[in-house]
């Protein structure tokens, strides 16, 4: 969340090209994971019945845009009009939730999302399944996705239940450094003049980042955390009065990912410092009359728990 015109959507849409491909069941509408039968859709479950394994193909991780003005039928799926008209058949046409399964669902201007769509997303995010009961159709399919939202907080507050569903919350502000700003303008100009050449120029960096993410993904399962650091995480959340346990669980997971991204097998105090603000920013109890930014409060609490050099204080 943050200032407009700071490249929020551009960054999210750039994600798709960085993610290493995943294994999918060939021909499956929902891109089911061949190695996880528990989460299969009904077709895959039926196909697997009795067979050892299903045909597999590599495919990209979906990054799906949910634009403002999307209708409910497109989000959750609906009757296939063509088949209804030409063959008189009642068939299900999957929507955006189906397409986003095992990937990312991106909502720009998330704080302006229609409220019935928010209700729908909350239900699906909680269960990991999309259950459609409309126009005589009755379908249930897997819909597990990472929700990515962006918007300008000045447009309105985000509904608390939805806010809570987001693991991390980054605050983006306008860059104040002139040289950096000039560089932004110049890069944008270069891109517009010749998009292909621009891409090529940055391909080595993209490749490196892609490889780094791939390595980190393989490593993250083996990253460990010391008991002492777990205590620190719990202490931090306690000190800040964070409700529930999503705060500490998110810090733990994010800190592991951060360690893996840096190629380490154990979480360091510096990882905790790196992720704590974004993991907790939206979980602090809000006092509308105070000026103090949530980020500053978290930093202050962090200072008492982990010192600046990363060692436990």
């Amino acid at each position: 969340m943050g200032h407009r015109g700071t490249g929020k959507s551009t960054a999210v849409r750039a994600l798709a090209e960085l993610l290493p491909p995943i294994r999918k069941v060939k021909g499956c509408l929902y891109g089911c994971d061949p190695d996880n039968a528990a989460e299969h859709c009904s077709e895959c479950a039926a196909r697997l019945n009795g067979r050892a394994r299903l045909p597999v193909q590599l495919g990209p991780v979906p990054v799906v845009d949910l634009p403002l003005g999307a209708t409910e039928d497109r989000v959750c799926g609906t009757l296939d009009i063509e088949r209804a008209l030409t063959r008189g058949e009642k068939a299900f046409e999957p929507g955006l939730l189906a397409r986003a399964n095992r990937g990312f669902l991106y909502i720009d201007e998330v704080n302006l999302l229609e409220h019935y769509l928010v209700d729908l997303l909350l239900d699906v995010a909680a269960s990991g399944r999309n259950i459609v009961e409309r126009e005589g159709i009755s379908v249930s399919h897997p819909a597990r996705f990472v929700l990515v939202g962006s918007g300008n907080p000045e447009e309105g507050e985000l509904r608390p239940q939805l806010l809570d569903r987001f693991g991390l919350h980054c605050r983006i502000t306008t860059i104040q450094d002139i040289e950096a700003r000039v560089e932004i303008v110049k890069r944008r100009e270069r891109f517009e003049r010749d998009p292909a050449a621009f891409r090529q120029e940055w391909e080595p960096e993209q490749d490196e980042l892609r490889a780094r993410i791939g390595r980190a993904r393989r490593l993250v399962r083996d990253v460990t955390v010391s008991d002492e650091l777990l205590v620190r995480i719990a202490e931090l959340c306690l000190r800040l009065g964070v409700d529930g346990h999503r705060g500490e669980l998110t810090i733990l997971r994010a800190a592991k990912a951060q360690a893996a991204l840096e190629g380490r097998r154990d979480v360091a105090p510096a990882d905790l410092r790196r992720v704590a603000v974004m993991a907790l920013r939206h979980r602090l109890r809000r006092d509308p009359l105070t000026e103090i930014d949530a980020g500053a409060r978290i930093e202050k609490a962090l200072d008492r728990i982990v010192d600046r050099n990363g060692a436990a204080a």
Binding site: G88, G156, D287, P288
Partner: protein, 597 residues
């Protein structure tokens, strides 16, 4: 009526912006503000004529999403059996221009849809079973009357140029209009002058544009200007460089110079300067224009509200300072859980079709159901009419935004003003903190001196509300009628934009000593009575919060409430919690009344 662009009198800056847009449509558009009768739409249409050959699509601000974005073409779909898309206005403007008048009155669905397409160059359609992303490279020309309110800030940020023709037309301009009109009388053919000269200039500039160079220090100069003006985000500078390039090309220059930079600052950066910068932002931009209507003799009396929650001055009178414990919401206000939106069978936004019988038939869904049952009964033949049986009927289900716009009209005159504003602020912020559950939005009007000022346009943002109320000026006379008038105006605009019902909350001691028209000093109450008629007509509910102590009461606030048909509470010792509770209770009442049958 068509008049060549060059012959339109006045509006020089606006004409110039359009020329730049013609040279580089990648500037994404121009917003043109001006009073009524300034030939804004004439200008836009002349521009269309100038660029004949490029699409020029008019998009009424009342256009529904299915017209703007596109949707199912029912007729063709039924005829061919293939799903067909009815192309929307945005898609039709690809490679050209989208024109909207009164663009400041467009609702958020309209502005955000257009802004998203402008920013990404792609129209993302996820509607009526369609999923598509056709290219949408177009530029927006938006005209509006600034007196009717501001343009949505996101939309304003999506286009390069913003021009407000403020000054009343000069004598020479008036003469030009008159002589043109006089010549018209003698026959339109006489003024059907030609755009040929302009067209040549544009063509020349277009071919020069790719060659125009920008020096490193000029990039820096524009970025520094953006920084100094406190412009939000980086779109502004990217546009500014482009404007400078187009400007140079139009001036037959191969390298940009000071004139081009000036134009970019004027057209792109200056209009985005944040007039109320965060206190943390660069101090260079810290000029907040004084309310234009506040007369100078009042300024001695002007005081800023003490920054943080300093004790209010009427502590001396025994009122306790407000308790600052916003997390503790009064139980009465929390009792019922309000669903953000309610279902309706009669009005609101059509969201889905259902088999349950209801007043409005959903045609598409019914036809599809009929097609399916035909298919099943196996009697479908080509060319035969589709027969819908009663069991195929589908009915429309709507969603109604059950929100409420709460307009605080605060008496900012006299010594107690600081207190009143303080309490209203606390209450407003609590309402907004709760905004998502209760669907409140808040606006604030302060009246003092002899006028009323909108401090906060309707918003759901707590941070905006806080900033606006922190900067409120207090002191001076009590133009009660002006305050009511301004509030009703906000309610009217919100309703025009399809917004929720409104509740006007007057925080005052009811002493009205300044009429909004100077000649009506004795007729203050008459004026209030006539405003009450407007309020009733516009279905704006009212609540009067009387801040006088019983001892000092003259009954004025009660009289005001009676005149307005308003609810009335006396809260002389009001803390923000008490104000919040009365407003929330009144709000639920209004909503109960407005709720769909």
């Amino acid at each position: 009526m068509n008049i060549p662009l060059e012959m339109i009198a006045g509006m020089t800056e606006a004409r110039f912006a359009l020329m730049l847009l013609a040279v580089d449509p990648g500037l994404k558009g121009a917003l043109i503000g001006g009073g009524p009768g300034r030939a804004k739409s004439l200008l836009a249409r002349s521009f269309a004529r100038l660029l004949a050959g490029m699409p020029f699509v008019e998009a009424p601000i009342a256009a529904t999403p299915d017209r703007l974005v596109g949707g199912l073409d029912l007729e063709r779909t039924l005829r061919t059996g293939r799903r067909s898309l009815a192309e929307g206005l945005i898609a039709r403007s690809h490679g050209g221009f989208l024109y909207a008048d009164s663009v400041n009155l467009a609702d958020a669905r309209w502005t955000r849809t257009v802004a998203a397409a402008l920013n990404s160059g792609v129209l993302r359609i996820e509607r009526d079973g369609f999923s598509a992303a056709p290219p949408a490279e177009f530029a927006l020309i938006g005209t509006y009357d600034p007196g009717d309110g501001d343009i949505d800030s996101q939309l304003a940020d999506s286009v390069a140029m913003h021009v407000i023709e403020e000054a009343p037309p000069a004598l020479s301009e008036r003469l030009q209009v008159l002589s043109l009109a006089a010549r018209r009388e003698t026959g339109p053919s006489r003024i059907a002058g030609d755009d040929g000269g302009l067209r040549n200039r544009i063509d020349r500039a277009r071919s020069r544009l790719p060659r125009v160079t920008v020096a490193p220090e000029q990039y820096r100069e524009l970025s520094a200007a953006a920084l100094r003006l406190g412009v939000e985000g980086h779109r502004a500078e990217i546009f500014a460089v482009r404007v400078a390039r187009a400007h140079a090309a139009l001036g037959d220059r191969d390298a940009i110079d000071e004139r081009d930079i000036d134009a970019a600052v004027r057209l792109t950066l200056a209009p985005r300067a944040r007039t109320r910068p965060d206190s943390s932002a660069s101090s260079a931009s810290g000029e907040r224009p004084a309310p234009a209507t506040a007369p100078n003799n009042q300024s001695r009396d002007d005081r800023r509200i003490p920054a943080q929650d300093a004790p209010a001055p009427d502590e001396a009178l025994g009122t306790s300072p407000p308790a600052n414990s916003p997390s503790r919401v009064a139980p009465s206000a929390r009792r019922q859980r309000t669903r953000a939106q309610t279902l309706s069978w009669t009005r609101g936004r059509y969201v889905r079709a259902d088999t349950r019988k209801a007043p409005k038939v959903a045609l598409e869904a019914t036809l599809l159901a009929a097609a399916i049952s035909h298919g099943r009964s196996n009697n479908r033949r080509p060319g035969r009419a589709l027969l819908a049986r009663p069991s195929d009927l589908r009915y429309k289900q709507f969603r109604v935004d059950s929100g409420l716009l709460v307009i605080f009209a605060i008496d900012a005159s006299g010594s107690m003003a600081v207190n009143r504003i303080h309490h209203a602020k606390g209450a407003a912020l609590r309402l907004l903190q709760d905004a998502y559950r209760r669907r409140f939005s808040v606006a604030v009007v302060a009246f003092r001196g002899n006028s009323a000022e909108t401090l906060l346009a309707p918003t759901r943002s707590a941070s905006l509300a806080k900033r606006a109320l922190d900067e409120a000026l207090v002191g001076g006379g009590t133009p009660l009628a002006a305050g009511i008038r301004e509030s009703l105006e906000i309610a009217r605009r919100a309703r025009l934009a399809g917004g929720p019902p409104a509740l006007m909350v007057l925080v005052t001691d009811g002493c009205a000593n300044v009429a909004s028209r100077p000649d009506a000093r004795e007729a203050v109450w008459e004026e209030i009575e006539s405003l009450a008629v407007v309020a009733r007509r516009d279905e704006v509910s009212a609540l009067v919060i009387d801040t006088t102590k019983p001892l000092f009461s003259t009954g004025a606030a009660e009289r005001l409430a009676r005149s307005l048909g308003a609810s009335y509470v006396r809260l002389p010792r009001a803390g923000d919690a008490a104000v919040y509770e009365s407003v929330a209770a009144a709000g639920e009442m209004v909503r109960g009344r407005a709720a769909p049958a």
